[in-house]
């Protein structure tokens, strides 16, 4: 079966002062059914822009190239009753579509229905003047042929599934009456209401406290497992990646620099940037106080991207070739790729 999401050579450029600047360059990634892919990188590396390009939520000033293949249920044969198990999802008649070229109307049908998103700040993504119940129902009414009454009872079910206590009361409350963790649960309820094939979560726990983050991560794990949903998890926290993901793609300056299974990338990191990131974070389980090894320098500005490898100016292993020639994403091992000239020699 085809991957749920197959992004091929996605590039995004923004027009700034009459000039197009590259925010995302040549990003390719796939997500299989039920899989969680982590997209990590520091601020400005293009991870959020990638997700917005996939869902076509970027403004018109952005120039998007490449292909985003999404295989979702064939609209012609969609079951009107929402299914709730992984086997039913795979049994649906699946059709592949290229999201960058489908009509706006079709894209609206896909968003919130087959692909849904959760953002970092739950307060800004919920509407402050509507009650929680009607915000979940809205999604259901928009995408499914059901009555408001049915939508209401399904919304209530969703609130129960995301572990909200007193769901009957919460249905009639406004976002400002809820805590940050509860709001994020409501966002997850809205996102999962139509049982999407793909959930994109952009820093879903960054604004939350650790103990609340633990609750939400646990919830997302359970939900993706029970519903068989694929998850694209965007984060800057390597701890969250280690905990949640099957595979991980590391982004730097608009490009994927390393990609592979979580185990491979954490224990056999090939790209100097990935290695640098791992060494830069304080080890929580370390007994001795080791000095941190920071990555010197700063991320290059997108207006002045280095010609060769974009990490070359900060790389401890920089060679002549790195400055002159831009490296491809080389296969290190099966499914493990690294955008570094050293990775080529390692293989040879």
């Amino acid at each position: 079966m085809a991957s749920v999401l197959d992004v091929q050579s996605l590039s995004v450029e923004f027009q700034v002062n009459g000039r197009y600047l590259p925010a995302v360059t040549n990003v390719s990634l796939t997500i299989e059914q039920g899989e969680t892919l982590g997209l990590v990188g520091e601020s400005g590396c293009g991870k959020s822009v990638t997700s917005l390009a996939i869902t076509r939520l970027l403004s018109k000033t952005a120039r998007v190239n490449g292909k985003v293949l999404f295989s979702g249920p064939d609209p012609a044969q969609r079951n009107p009753v929402p299914s709730s198990g992984p086997e039913e999802v795979s049994a649906r008649n699946v059709r592949e579509r290229e999201l960058l070229t489908v009509r706006d109307k079709d894209m609206q049908d896909i968003r919130g229905n087959e692909i849904s998103m959760i953002f970092q700040e739950p307060m800004t993504s919920l509407n402050p003047v509507y009650k929680i119940g009607s915000q979940i129902s809205e999604t259901l009414l928009l995408h499914q042929n059901i009555s408001p009454r049915q939508a209401f009872s399904q919304s209530l079910e969703m609130l129960k599934k995301v572990g909200i206590s007193r769901p009957e009361q919460i249905m009639h409350q406004y976002p400002h009456q809820l805590s940050g963790g509860m709001r994020q649960r409501v966002m997850i309820a809205i996102a999962m209401a139509c049982n999407p094939r793909l959930l994109i979560a952009d820093e879903p726990t960054t604004a939350l406290d650790v103990t609340i983050q633990a609750q939400i991560l646990e919830l997302m794990k359970g939900i993706t497992r029970d519903f068989g949903t694929s998850l694209l998890l965007i984060t800057h926290d390597l701890g969250v990646v280690a905990e949640m993901c099957n595979r991980v793609a590391v982004m730097y300056a608009g490009e994927i620099v390393e990609q592979g299974s979580v185990d491979e990338v954490f224990f056999n990191a090939k790209h100097p940037y990935t290695v640098g990131l791992m060494n830069a974070i304080p080890k929580f389980d370390a007994t001795s106080k080791e000095r941190l090894q920071p990555i010197e320098g700063n991320v290059p500005s997108i207006a002045r991207m280095p010609k060769g490898c974009r990490f070359a100016p900060r790389c401890p292993h920089v060679m002549k070739q790195c400055v002159e020639q831009h490296p491809d994403l080389f296969e290190v091992e099966n499914g493990h790729q690294s955008r570094c000239w050293l990775s080529v020699e390692g293989e040879a």
């Binding site: 520091e42 805590s179 103990t211 954490f266 830069a280 941190l292």
Partner: protein, 336 residues
């Protein structure tokens, strides 16, 4: 052991709450509710807790940037809460603060040189020429090119701005620096640069730090001792190693187990606390943590736990800290 530089006794800060324009306030938010601690010369005391636990208010109350409601803060033998405004201003030469947001804490219309000169002008230290020279040397010391002095904050990245914030705190040669989430707004690669810088400066200038943060890995890395706060109160205080490897308070334990560890092969038993942090306007009776505590019993609802030294230099406020200590490896999750 080194001498005590700062001693905080029964410090409280209550903010009025409720009410509104022309209305009486109806209650108070107990942001800091009876904190007592000592800070030793040359050490780094970490203060951790979740949002709203009062850790930042505590830091600011110590400097009297927020006027505490009651309590005592003794710095170098002087009770600074009794000082008058001008004497307090003099005292602040010795105690400086670095804020979280390097974007909001620098005046956008001042050049870096103006920002760094201002403290010396206020305190009338040095003449103009040596002030200038001092700016140059401090900039160099925090890893910035001295030629940047004539630039404005918007010309710098977040990490560079935080270096400027640190330089501003250093310029008066203080003894104590309160670091309020100094690396929270920075990316990982830059965060470690700033942490290393802070460690170097501490060694070179003999500084004492109070490091307020929510990121436990960072606090563990930088602190000698750590205080865990919950809802304005002290939950646990111990040396960094004791606290992280042998926690005695169920909240500390849950907090530690909640931190995602960047190692996919480590499988830990996670203690998931149910519910949210209660409102500090109306804190729970007895132990403030009992509403979320996995081992709470009746006594926890009724009696405020005593602050006691269960092991040497390891303080905790929990009725059942001994039980926690015994069951270091697993807490019964089902019990409430």
């Amino acid at each position: 052991m080194a001498s005590v530089l700062l001693e905080v006794e029964e410090l409280k800060k209550y903010f009025p709450s409720g009410g509104g324009f022309l209305e009486r306030s109806t209650g108070s938010v107990r942001a800091v509710d009876g904190i007592s601690l000592k800070v030793y010369e040359g050490e780094t005391l970490g203060i951790v807790g979740e949002s709203g636990c009062g850790k930042s208010t505590l830091g600011r109350s110590i400097l009297r940037l927020i006027e505490p409601t009651s309590g005592r803060v003794t710095f170098h033998g002087t009770d600074i809460l009794k000082l008058r405004k001008s004497a307090m201003r003099d005292m602040r030469k010795e105690m400086q603060i670095v804020f979280q947001d390097p974007y909001a804490s620098l005046n956008p219309r001042y050049t870096i040189s103006q920002t760094l000169m201002e403290p010396m002008e206020i305190h009338q230290l040095y003449n103009h020429a040596s002030r200038k020279q001092r700016v140059q040397s401090i900039l160099e010391r925090v890893g910035l090119d001295p030629s940047y002095a004539s630039r404005f904050p918007h010309e710098f990245s977040g990490g560079q701005r935080q270096r400027i914030g640190i330089a501003r705190a250093l310029v008066l040669n203080p003894k104590l620096i309160i670091l309020d989430e100094p690396v929270a707004a920075l990316d990982v690669s830059v965060q470690s640069q700033v942490i290393n810088l802070l460690e170097d400066l501490q060694a070179d200038f003999g500084l004492t730090y109070i490091f307020v943060a929510h990121d436990l890995s960072v606090v563990k890395h930088i602190s000698n001792r750590v205080l865990v706060m919950y809802l304005g109160k002290m939950a646990e205080l111990a040396s960094s190693d004791d606290l992280f490897f042998r926690p005695l308070h169920p909240y500390t334990r849950a907090l530690l187990s909640a931190v995602p560890i960047p190692n996919p092969r480590v499988k830990r038993e996670r203690i998931i606390l149910s519910g949210d942090i209660p409102s500090p306007v109306n804190p729970p009776s007895g132990c403030v943590f009992h509403t979320r505590c996995p081992i709470a019993k009746d006594v926890c609802r009724q009696q405020v736990p005593e602050w006691r030294e269960l092991r040497r230099e390891h303080f905790v406020a929990c009725h059942f800290a001994e039980d926690v200590d015994v069951e270091t490896n697993s807490l019964p999750l089902g019990r409430r």
